[in-house]
C-alpha cells in the first residue's frame, strides 16, 4: 500500500480526505486504484494529471515505480508556455 496525497479540488470525491492509501506498484496502478475507488474522480484522472514521486514530477510515465514509503502526490497536469 502507498499513501497518495491528492489536491484539494479532488477531495470532494474522497469525502474530504487529503490522503488516501491505495494498493499500487506504479503510477498507472495509482491512477487505476483511485479511479476504481472514486469513479467520480475518473474524468479528472483521465483528463490528464501530473504525479510527483518523492518530489520529482512525472507527466506521462505509467510504469514509474512507487514504494510503500514513497511520497506520491496527484496534481493537475502541469502546463507551460
Amino acid at each position: 500500500m502507498v499513501k497518495v496525497r491528492i489536491w484539494g479540488g479532488l477531495r470532494v470525491h474522497t469525502g474530504g480526505e487529503a490522503e488516501v492509501e491505495v494498493d499500487a506498484q506504479d503510477l498507472r496502478g495509482v491512477v487505476a486504484a483511485l479511479g476504481a475507488r472514486y469513479p467520480e474522480m475518473k474524468p479528472a484522472l483521465e483528463g490528464g494529471v501530473s504525479m510527483s514521486i518523492d518530489g520529482r514530477l512525472y507527466t506521462n510515465r505509467w510504469f514509474e515505480k512507487v514504494r510503500p514509503d514513497s511520497e506520491v502526490v496527484v496534481l493537475p497536469r502541469i502546463v507551460g508556455g
Binding site: R5, W7, G8, G9, L10, R11, V12, H13, A18, A44, S50, S52, D54, G55, R56, L57, Y58, T59, N60, R61, E64, E71, V73, L75, P76, I78, V79, G80, G81
Partner: protein, 746 residues
Amino acid sequence: MPKDIATRTFKQVGTRPLRPDGIEKVTGRARFGADFSLPGMLVGKILRSPHAHARILRIDTSAAAALPGVKAIVTAKDFPEADDGLHDIRMNVMAREKALYDGHAVAAVAAVSAAVAREALRLIRVDYEVLPHVTDVDEAMKPTAPILHPHMVTAHESPEAKRPTNVAGKYEFGHGDPEAGFRKADHVVARTFKVEAAHQGYIEPHACVANITSDGQGDLWCCTQGHFMVRAISAGLNGMDLSKLRVTASEIGGGFGGKTTVYIEPVAVALSRKAGKPVKIVMTRDEVFRATGPTHSASIDVKIGATKDGRITGAFAELRYQGGAFPGSLADMGAMAAFACYDLENVRSIGWDVVTNRPKLAAYRAPSAPAVCFAVESVIDELARKMGMDPIDFRLKNAAREGTLSSYGPTYQAIGLEATLRALKAHPHYKAPLKPGQGRGVACGFWFNFGGQTCTSLNIGLDGTVALSVGTPDIGGSRASMCLMAAEELGIPYDKVRCIVADTASLGYNDVTDGSRVTFSSGLATITAARNAIKVMCARAAAIWGIPEDAVEWVDGHARPTGPNAGNFPPLSLADIAAQSHQTGGPIAGHCEVTAEGAGVSFGAHLADVEVDRETGAVKVLRYTVAQDAGKAVHPAYVEGQYQGGAVQGIGWALNEEYVYGKDGRLQNPGFLDYRIPVCSDLPMIDTLILEIPNPGHPYGVRGVGETPIVPPMATIANAIASATGVRMTHVPMSPPRVLKALSEA
C-alpha cells in the same frame, strides 16, 4: 544524481559559440511562417465576429461563393463534431452555435488574391442574435452573469453547486490551518489585487501554408512551437490520418507560449483540400490580438501573517482567473505556484477557473504564475516593511529549501531559491545608493518546468561530421545548445555538428517547445542519442581491432582500448571510424525516444530600482538585476537572453500592457500602438546572475530557464514603487493613471 554532474568540467558546454542559424537570420534568408510560398497558391482569410457574444442564426455564403476568384469557403459545418477530446479547440477554430468573443472566427475563404478574399468576406452574410456578454472575471462569477455555456457546471465542486455557471472549476491546495496561523501572528496583511490580461506579443503573426489533396494527404508549413501538436489537431479536425499530414515548422518569430496551440492551421488545411490548391493564411496584427491567446486576467485575495521575528505563521490566497471563452484559465497552476517559494506550516490556496467573452487563453511564459506572484510578493514585501525587516532577509527566513513540504504537495529536492536570494543580496546593485524619489524592490518567483515526449536522431556522416535532428522548434537559440551538447558528448568540435528541426514525418512524436523544456528534454535526448552512437562506434572499433566491445571506451572523441586484455591499439577518432563505417556495418547513428522527466523546479529573484514622477504617475525603471538558477547554462548568452527577455516582458506587463475592453465587449486596443509593449528607450540594461545548482534529473544538470524570468517582475516593480512612494499598488498594469490615482488617494 549522476556522480559527475557537480564536479564535471565541460569543454564546450558553457561556451558561447555563434548560433548555427545566425547568418540566415542576419541576412534575411531565414524563412519564417509568412515566407513560404507555393506555385498556384491561394490566399486564405477569416471572417470574425464583431460581437462579444452572439448566437449565429444563419451564415449565407452564396454571394461570396459566386464572386469570381473565390475557390473555397468553410464554416463550422466543415469541422463536424466528434468525440475526440478536441471539442473546445474545434469550437475555437470556428464558431458553431455561438460566437463567444470579439474576433471569434465564423467563416473562411480561399481566393486568388488578398483583394478578392477580402471582398468575399464582405459578401458573407452572418445573422447574429446579439446576447449579453461578460468580460470581467468577478462579474462573470456572479449568479446573474450571462452564461456562456449552458451545460457548464463547476468541476471538483460539491453536487449542490451543479447549476449552469461560468465557473468551470475549483482547485485547492495547501496543508495546515491558515486561520490558526493568523491567530499566532503579530502582523497580518490582507489585500485584494487585480491583474489585467496581457498578450505574448510575438512579433511574427501566425502564418501557414497548407497543400492538401482530395484524398486527405499533404503538407503544412507553419510557425509553431510544436508541429506535432499542429499535426494532431489539424488532422483531427479534418478527419485525416495523422501520418498523411506532414507538418514542417518554419523558423518561428517568437511564441512565449502563444504558439502552443492552433488557430489558422486546420482552416488552411480544410480550405486547401476543398479548393484543390495550396492555401496560405497570414494573420493580421489585429487578428492576433483579437483572436489568439492572451493570458488570464485575475482578481486575487492574499492574506499572510507573521510573528514579529519574521516567521510566517499562516498564508491564504484565493485566485479568480478568467481564461476567455473556454475552461483552462490555469487558476490551478496559479494556486499551486502561489506560495511555492516558502516553507509554510499553514497554507491554503484556492483557484477558480472562470470563462468570459474573451479569446481563449494561451499559455504565456510560466502561465498563471506572474499574477499570483505579484499579489503574494506584494504582501510579503508589505509585511517585511511593517516589521522593519530587510525584504531579502525576510524571504530567506521563510524560504523553501531541500526537504520543505511545498504548498502544492510534493517535498522539494535540491532547489536554488536560497542561493538565488543570497546572490542578489551580495550583488553591488543591492547596496547602491538611491536618490530621493527613487525606490528599490525585490521579489522572488517560482516555476515548475517539465520534460515531456522527445525524439532525437543523430547521424554521423562518412566525413565524421554530425547531422542532428530534433523535433522541438528552436525559439531562442536551442539549436546552438543542442550542437554544444552533442559536440561535448562526442568529443568533436562544435562546428562539426549541424542541428535541424525535422518535420513530423522524419522523427517520432515530440511535445511542444514549452514549459522551459527544450534544452532540458531535447538536450537529454541529444546526449542519449550521442551516447547510443558512441556505443555503435565503440563496437565498430572493437570489430576493427578484433577485441570485445566492452574492452573499448570513448574518451575525448576517440575509441580507445581499455582493460588488461584489450591490446595496444592506437585510438580511433570519430572521423576514422566514420570513414570506414560503410565497410564495418553501415551507417552510424544514435537515436533517442524518451519521455523526459525530472525537469526540476526553478526559482529566480529580481531587483529593480525605479523613479516615480509624482505629478504624472510615470514610473521609470532605472536599474534591473535578475538572479536565477539555470542548473547548468549550456550557452550562457542565450540563458542571459532568456532572463533579460522574460524580465522585460514582465516589466511591460507591470507598467503598461493590458487588454482593454469597451462596454460593447470589443477589444479597444488590438495593435502595437495601444497595446504597449516596452520599447528600447523605456529600459535600462538588464543585469543577470546565472547560478548553477545542478539538476539531478539531467546528465549535465540542466534546468529549464525560459519561463521563470517573467514571474517576479510585476511584484518587483510594485515593491520598488512602494519603496519610492510609500504607496502600495494593487492593480496591474501600474499605468500612470493608476499610479497617479493611488498617489493622490494616499
